[in-house]
């Protein structure tokens, strides 16, 4: 049968990863609309409602427009670095999806070092920011890049530390194993023993995807977009897409590691093949929290950001690591 043939490597890998990339691009587009609608409802407005039914075609119009817009690269820019930066930003956001299990057996690549892969790939994102800021040759973008580099590299530390507890509890680095560990109902989810770690992960995840209150590399009101100030047209769209995709990735990883992934909250709600819906619901909820924070809070300053990272998040996560280790020894 043809279908069996498709289940063989490498076809299975190619098709599933293509599906995932398609999914990521669409998620980014849908999220732009979601962002505008959520902000509108928070701010007592309607948001886009003229393009298509209830404004549903707004992302389509935006994407087509950006696609046919002139792509300016400044005369002084380092052209190749400038053009490669959006790709370097987008690929990591897409590549993390490869290790996230969408349902029982629905994972592109079940790496036994899934968590390490996640750390490694997300830290490449910082490289893209630096490339963009340096390649644009503008003071604003250079400042944005420096801020981005400092922020993303510092927040890697609490991000990694906050996930070590999960690895200790489950005894595995594979995402699939971690999800299996949380089977049986919402009381088995890792968020309960690891609540401080979850909060630390969420905060450092916010910083990692450069959302308010940690959007210093962009800093719309001070450095006007920061590293992306010189981008136009499709390159800018790619940067935006990578931001939204990494936001979605962060939410998906958080729900996989702490909220049981595709596991249903109660055993009798098992949907079988459609269990990926549970992952979708959890991810959407977390994304909504991201957006809720975005439209409510002001932005931190660089020194305060560093204080929060190094003086609060890192000690808290290390302390909770010891607590976890002690508890595991005793029990």
């Amino acid at each position: 049968m043809a279908l069996e043939y498709l289940e063989q490597e490498p076809w299975r890998f190619l098709i599933s990863s293509a599906t995932v990339i398609f999914l990521v691009l669409n998620i980014a587009a849908v999220l732009t609309l979601a962002e505008r609608k959520v902000s509108a409802y928070i701010q007592l407005r309607y948001g886009p409602n003229r393009v298509g039914p209830r404004g549903l075609l707004q992302p389509a119009a935006d994407v087509v427009k950006l696609f046919i817009k002139e792509n300016v690269s400044p005369g002084r820019a380092d052209r190749w670095v400038f053009l490669a930066a959006p790709i370097a930003m987008f690929l990591p956001a897409a590549a993390v999806w490869l290790v996230i299990p969408f349902g029982p057996g629905m994972v592109v690549a079940d790496l036994n070092i899934g968590l390490v892969y996640f750390f490694a790939i997300t830290s490449i994102g910082a490289l893209g920011v630096i490339m963009a800021g340096y390649g644009s040759r503008s003071n604003f973008s250079l400042l944005g890049a420096l801020r981005g580099a400092g922020q993303m590299i510092s927040y890697e530390v609490p991000l990694i530390l906050s996930l070590l507890g999960v690895a200790m509890l489950t005894g595995s680095l594979s995402m699939v194993d971690i999800v299996e560990y949380q089977a049986g109902g919402f009381w088995n989810w890792i968020i309960w023993p690891q609540l401080p770690m979850f909060l630390a992960f969420f905060v450092s995840g916010l910083a990692e995807v450069k959302r308010i209150p940690f959007d210093l590399p962009e800093g719309e009101s001070e450095i006007v977009g920061g590293f992306m100030i010189e981008y136009s047209g499709m390159t800018w769209a790619l940067i935006q897409a990578s931001e939204f995709a990494s936001m979605a990735v962060m939410s998906a990883v958080a729900s996989t590691l702490f909220l049981g992934g595709w596991q249903p909250p109660l055993p009798f709600l098992d949907l079988g093949v459609f269990n990926w819906l549970w992952l979708g619901i959890k991810t959407t909820l977390l994304i909504f929290v991201f957006q809720w924070i975005r439209w409510t809070l002001p932005r931190l300053r660089m020194d305060q950001l560093m204080d929060l990272g190094w003086k609060i998040l890192v000690p808290v996560t290390i302390l909770w690591l010891f607590v976890t280790a002690g508890a595991m020894l005793v029990i």
Binding site: R45, N49, R50, Q58, D62, V72, G225
Partner: protein, 248 residues
């Protein structure tokens, strides 16, 4: 690649798609000039909500903007900046002149530093009268621009060029050369015998008295030598003054 001379099924259908996308995603540049900027902001706020039309994203950087709303009086000093911003915007781009000042100079028409309308330095597509126009008027202006965009074609149709008016009132094509200096002087009577620099040069000086950091017309000595050589004799009087200041 085939180059089409007249409209056919391919160009007309892509026209439809492109124009639909462009008109529904008009991102204005965050460019508040004067009083009208407050009404422009009011338009973006909850009561009038420009975002309903997909035009709510006010881009801070001109690279991401589609339409420039010239909201207020343009002074000659600002005209240079406005032209530069216009040139920094990627194609296709449109300009809305919002308010009497941006259309013609408005109540400040007689002023010695006021540009008599934004259309003297950049081509304007839609004029929205009022002082300041109500938010509804601006929304109407944007909808008018949307209608204008709908009619655009890639081939077979001469795109009506926005008018650019020179000092004598002749309509001419938009030239990217920075001509704001010659045509932006208004009607001010000026005494004779005052030399002007033919172009504006903006150089930044380092390590010198802070006062001189902001001299718009300051030219580094070496650059001035080069210019002098190119232009023959005739460095302006103000240049010498700058040299004196630098020495002090």
């Amino acid at each position: 690649m085939q180059k089409f001379d007249e409209p056919n099924i391919i160009t007309t259908s892509t026209d439809k798609l492109f124009n639909w996308a462009r008109k529904n995603s008009l991102w204005p540049l965050q460019f508040g000039l004067a009083c009208c900027a407050i009404e422009m902001m009011s338009t973006g706020m909850a009561h009038n909500d420009l975002e309903r039309f997909g035009a709510g994203f006010f881009a801070g950087s001109p690279r991401q903007a589609d339409v420039m709303i010239v909201s207020g009086t343009v002074s000659t000093k600002m005209a240079e900046r406005m032209t530069r911003l216009y040139e920094q915007m990627p194609e296709p781009k449109w300009v809305i002149a919002m308010g009497a000042c941006a259309i013609s100079g408005g109540p400040f028409l007689d002023g010695y530093s006021v540009l008599m309308g934004a259309d003297r330095v950049i081509p304007v597509d839609v004029y929205v009268p009022g002082c300041p126009p109500r938010p509804e008027a601006l929304i109407f202006g944007i909808m008018t621009l949307q209608k204008k965009i709908e009619r655009e074609q890639q081939v077979g149709y001469e795109k009506p060029r926005p008018a650019l008016v020179d000092e004598e009132g002749n309509i001419r094509e938009y030239l990217p050369e920075r001509e704001y200096r010659q045509i932006s002087e208004g009607k001010a009577h000026r005494p004779k015998g005052i030399k002007r620099l033919p172009r504006t040069y903006v150089f930044q000086r380092k390590g010198l008295p802070p006062g001189s950091m902001t001299d718009v017309g300051w030219i580094p000595p070496e650059a001035r030598e080069r210019l002098k050589a190119r232009r023959g004799a005739g460095a302006s009087g103000s240049g010498e003054r700058e040299e004196g200041k630098e020495g002090a």
